[in-house]
Symmetry: C2
Subunit: 79 residues, 2 copies
């Protein structure tokens, strides 16, 4: 089963990487670009075939390794 | 309009970051984890309200800044 995880900074947490992208886009002449936020996207192949168990396993992975839950949110898609 | 861009390494391109995540997960005792790939996820607020024009603009951003099209794929979602 494939799991797709998005890890994004929480609202209110400064995102210098996103800011840098926004500035670079403005420098390239792209107008009308407002807020830019950069996050991580992780694709995992997991052996577990039961959706509920797989979600629980990936949740644990997020909490223990993939996301820093103090400043980051995560979301999980399976399939 | 919000644009969500995924930038992922092309198949066949070595992904050391993904490998490191896979090894760390195994080290934490998560079994049954196969291939892991890490990509980038970028959220942009753009002023353009016409979907076709917005997509064209974000395509240009991807080609010129956000993705290295030699080794990376990108996908765009609007809305």
């Amino acid at each position: 089963m494939k799991a797709r995880v998005h890890v994004t900074l929480k609202n209110g947490v400064l995102d210098p990487q996103g800011k840098a992208i926004g500035n670079a886009l403005a420098g390239l002449g792209f107008g009308g670009v407002g807020d830019v936020r950069q996050g991580k996207f992780i694709e995992l192949d997991i052996a577990e075939t039961d959706a509920a168990k797989a979600r629980e396993q990936v949740e644990q992975m997020c909490k223990r390794l993939l996301a820093n839950t103090v400043i980051e949110n995560y979301s999980i898609e399976l399939g």
